[in-house]
């Protein structure tokens, strides 16, 4: 056991963890931030995506010890200061970009990072970027639509209905 400290959503947290404890386990079990989900065990599904020192990280691929001293942002830290949904979250609700909600935190974290890196992505760029986030419910249609909307872009004609 070692004492691990990190800043999560602007607050400093410390807790003991085994060497084998994954960042996602640390967040969920030690800090009770259960919005970050575990959907697989091979770093494929992206449900556990968080931001570590400004980078997109699948929290199941990083040991908690590796994040010692890091700045971490999880889905719980994404809403506006007054608690209302931020632009990306609101776009997901407006465009029905989620159904069961399990992949959603990871999707929002990845989509947010995408727009930081590429503020006006094309449909194809969004699809390529989201390869590491699996959704089983939506067929991605409304997720892509939501991200286009959050970036201030219109839908291509074929999907405008």
């Amino acid at each position: 056991m070692a004492m691990i400290s990190m800043t999560v959503n602007g607050k400093t947290h410390s807790a003991e963890a085994e060497g084998r404890t994954l960042l996602v386990e640390f967040l969920r079990e030690k800090l009770h931030l259960t919005g970050t989900h575990v959907g697989c065990d091979t770093s494929q599904c992206g449900a556990c995506t968080v931001h570590v020192n400004g980078q997109n990280v699948k929290a199941c691929t990083m040991f908690a010890a590796e994040a010692d001293g890091a700045e971490v942002t999880t889905i719980e830290g994404m809403a506006n200061g007054d608690g209302s949904l931020n632009v990306m979250q609101q776009a997901f609700q407006d465009h029905h970009g989620l159904q069961c909600g399990f992949c959603t935190p990871g999707m929002v974290m990845s989509a947010t990072k995408l727009l930081e890196e590429n503020p006006k992505p094309s449909e194809q760029e969004i699809r390529d970027y989201l390869q590491g986030n699996i959704c089983r419910c939506t067929g991605y249609h409304n997720i892509i639509k939501a991200i286009l909307a959050a970036s201030g872009q219109d839908m291509p004609a074929v999907a405008a209905e």
Partner: protein
């Protein structure tokens, strides 16, 4: 102009706010004080006799609470099966025992042998590695046809053989069908595989068992689509716990797609172990575990023959299907290839004679049960592929051939024992031709050709059956359950309502769409209605959510209960306004007396019900709460037509979906946004089955696709934007909302659409010898077929097992 509330409005989902902020409460988010963790040691061989289990070293390891083996469960029941099928010879199906932990033998990779309960999950896993299990490995049966041969090893020693049942439907039609086929002007034959799939909801299964020493009450938190069904099956048949001592809670559930209907051994284990260990016991499946313990889907091998007369009218249809049950019978497994498949074989067509024969087979594989569509995708796939092949053989347009044979008069009694109440298959086909821009296809095909690609257009018509019912009929068909749904509507004194429904939402959005219905009925804002579901302690006995039944059956129960509420409220309003009950009208949340300007508000009436000072106490009870159970008179029959355009790279065999259009008839629609989302998701799963997904076993029964590295889930770049339409609406005639159900349509109708498109592309590219390629149409399979690969790859001979091996 779109409505902004009530039935027909695309109300935004209220549940989204918690899911978007990390505030959802899924089962794995639940941790109980003093909880221990269980890890299951699972078989790594497909078939074998357990000769010894030595847990002594493991038991001494740090944190271990207790280690359980099959012997600990000898005194209790096995996991039950909820549907009994009767074979053609009149015998009931062979039904093996399904122990909670394997006892004597292991029968598939993933069969649980030992359960290690420890303080932490890490300690449980560490200890499991120290358990010594000796297994005498036996030859495994994987291939269904080999499993039925006389010398095949038996999956269950105490059964006669590996044949679960041999079902004929409708048996009385058999001779007439044989005769019609032998005398037909043309017969098109196709052999095909409906590939084994894994449902893969993104949330893996979780169970947390709890037991209160002082009261003897059990609570199970579980990832279920139907908590009441789990309470009944596990309580009555496995653990012997009466329902009033057992509470089952299914909180936020991260997708189901069928695989969370069933009662699983892990749920029973955690409930049992909570008492045995005197502390809560939690299990969270890993994804790898999910692949080898969640019930799989599909896995049918079918030969289908379609007979036509000289005018291209369908005259008879005959099928022989081998359906894989896996090693044990999962909860509803026997019903999927029979009543959910055979009854759909008429499709949208007026074929007068149909005979369906299904042989269900035990193999050393994970149990197979319902997956999105369940039997109906298998029926649609065969039918729509053989019709496409017939059109090609006869040189007629596939749309024309379908239209010529469409059922056009309703109600229509099929030769496979069901009666379609409404539909308009030409209307959805007309709509499809428009939204799919069929007129522009040749131009797009030319453009593709200039880039060296082959473009193909695939079409499909489908019929689905939702809300399987009525209970007395399904009882005759072998169901060991009723198929009604329930709702309790509780009106509070200040006018707000709480609806406790037996339906369960795991992505479908009931919390939003159900209030829209009540809002429409009473004329109050949607946010005055709250939906409670997923807890046997609050909701009345209900059968849960699957088979697109929530709104058609559960919504109908809610409507019936709300009608009772309104009737009683009108009596109260009549008293308050000193008017006759018959003259009371309810509109926009106001009760008024017809022909006068007298009115009282909804809230005045609800307050009077709970503060009954001025109240007809001699005639009616105080309070405003009603329950209804709704048992449908018939299935509902959504239908529609789908089109897909693919582009095929002849150099590599890579297929991409360029356009996808769906014209569905779901009857009335409550929330169009949610309905469209359901169709999008279903289509993506269907594209996954057609192009990507395959659950594969090797010849020894090793599951070789047990992670997302090996099982190809559709990702964002595998699917296109889809054009979906539900403007063709023929309302259901027998439920109060006129709704039909939309959850499975996409998954049912899209696989044949995609395969038809690929075959079309190949034929346009001159590969006219390729009649069929089995799903998934991977680049390897498509390319091999283009190189003139063996007929086994193209025509569908061979066995299920052999054809699951990748190539």
């Amino acid at each position: 102009m779109p409505k902004d509330g009530g039935i027909g409005a695309s109300s935004k989902r209220r549940e989204d706010v918690r899911f978007l902020t990390g505030d959802g409460r899924y089962t794995d988010d639940i941790n109980l004080a003093g909880q221990a963790h269980v890890h299951f040691l699972r078989s790594d061989v497909a078939h074998g006799r357990i000769t010894s289990i030595d847990t002594s070293e493991a038991e001494a390891m740090p944190g271990v609470v207790r280690i359980f083996t099959g012997a600990d469960f000898e005194a209790i029941g096995g996991i039950p099966c909820g549907w009994q099928i009767t074979s053609r010879d009149g015998n009931v199906m062979q039904e093996p025992k399904h122990p909670v932990l394997a006892h004597g033998k292991v029968r598939h990779v993933g069969d649980p042998i030992c359960a290690v309960v420890a303080e932490t999950l890490g300690q449980a896993r560490d200890a499991a590695e120290a358990i010594m299990v000796e297994i005498d490995e036996l030859p495994a049966v994987i291939d269904m046809k080999k499993a039925l041969s006389g010398d095949a090893p038996k999956v269950h020693d105490d059964l006669e053989n590996n044949l679960c049942y041999d079902w004929g439907f409708v048996e009385e039609n058999r001779e007439a069908v044989d005769k019609a086929i032998s005398e037909a002007a043309h017969v098109t034959t196709l052999e095909l595989v409906n590939n084994r799939l894994v449902a893969n909801p993104m949330e893996p299964r979780v169970a947390v068992g709890d037991w209160a020493k002082s009261t003897g009450d059990y609570t199970l938190y579980t990832t279920s689509q139907n908590p009441h069904v789990i309470r009944l099956l596990m309580g009555a048949f496995v653990l012997g716990i009466p329902e009033h001592k057992l509470r089952v809670v299914a909180p936020d559930v991260g997708g189901g797609f069928g695989t969370k209907i069933f009662h699983y051994a892990e749920e029973a284990f955690c409930t049992f172990a909570a008492k045995a260990c005197r502390r809560p016991v939690k299990w969270t499946s890993t994804r790898s575990e999910a692949f080898m313990s969640d019930a799989h889907g599909r896995d049918h091998v079918t030969k289908i023959e379609l007979a036509l007369d000289a005018e291209n009218n369908f005259t008879a249809l005959r099928t022989l299907t081998h359906a894989n049950m896996g090693a044990y019978l999962s909860t509803f497994a026997p019903s999927v290839p029979t009543w959910l498949h055979g009854t759909l074989m008429a499709g949208n067509y007026k074929t007068p004679l149909i005979y369906v024969n299904v042989k269900a087979v035990f193999t050393n594989t994970v149990p197979v049960d319902a997956y999105r569509g369940a039997g109906r995708p298998e029926a649609t796939y065969q039918l729509e592929r053989v019709i496409d092949k017939a059109a090609r053989e006869l040189g007629v347009d596939p749309v024309t051939l379908r239209r010529q044979n469409f059922i056009t008069e309703f109600p229509y009694a099929t030769p496979v024992a069901v009666e379609y109440d409404t539909g308009d298959y030409n209307a959805t086909m007309d709509k499809l031709e428009e939204i799919g821009d069929f007129a522009g296809f040749e131009g797009r095909a030319e453009e593709s050709k200039r880039r060296g690609k082959l473009r193909g257009l695939g079409i499909n018509s489908y019929i689905e059956a939702c809300g399987i019912a009525p209970s007395n009929l399904v009882g005759q068909l072998g169901a060991r359950a009723g198929l009604y749904e329930s709702a309790t509507v509780r009106v509070n004194a200040t006018g707000g309502l709480v609806v406790m429904t037996g339906s369960h939402s795991h992505g479908q959005g009931h919390e939003t769409s159900f209030p829209q219905v009540i809002s429409e009925m009473i004329g109050i804002p949607e946010d005055m209605v709250e939906i409670v579901h997923g807890d046997t302690a609050t909701a009345p006995m209900g059968m849960g959510t699957y088979g697109s039944r929530s709104l058609a059956v559960g919504g109908s129960a809610m409507v019936r209960a709300t009608e009772k509420i309104i009737n009683k409220a009108k009596k109260i309003a009549a008293h308050l306004m000193e008017a006759s009950e018959e003259d009371i009208e309810l509109k926009d949340g106001q009760f008024s007396v017809a022909g006068t300007d007298k009115s009282v508000a909804w809230g005045d009436v609800t307050l009077a019900a709970y503060v009954p000072h001025n109240y007809p106490l001699e005639d009616i009870e105080p309070g405003l709460e009603e329950t209804a159970f709704y048992d449908p008179a018939n299935f509902t029959y959504p239908s529609g037509a789908y089109a897909c355009e693919v582009e095929l790279d002849p150099e590599t065999g890579v297929v991409t979906i360029e356009r996808f259009a769906a014209a569905d008839d779901f009857g009335n629609v409550v929330n169009p946004m949610i309905v469209e989302g359901q169709v999008h998701g279903g289509i993506a799963q269907g594209i996954g089955q057609a192009l990507l997904e395959n659950c594969a076993y090797d010849e020894n029964g090793q599951l070789v696709s047990a992670t997302y590295m090996d099982y190809a889930m559709p990702r964002a770049d595998n699917v296109p934007f889809m054009t979906v339409d539900h403007s063709c609406q023929t309302p259901c005639t027998h439920n109060p909302l006129g709704v039909k159900g939309c959850g499975e349509a996409g998954a049912i109708a899209s696989p044949p659409t995609v395969v038809n498109a690929v075959i079309d592309a190949l034929h346009r590219g001159g590969h006219t010898g390729i009649a069929h390629i089995d799903m998934p149409l991977t680049p390897q399979r498509v390319w091999a077929a283009m190189q003139g690969g063996s007929p086994e790859q193209g025509e569908g001979h061979g066995s299920a097992g052999a054809r699951q091996l990748g190539a």
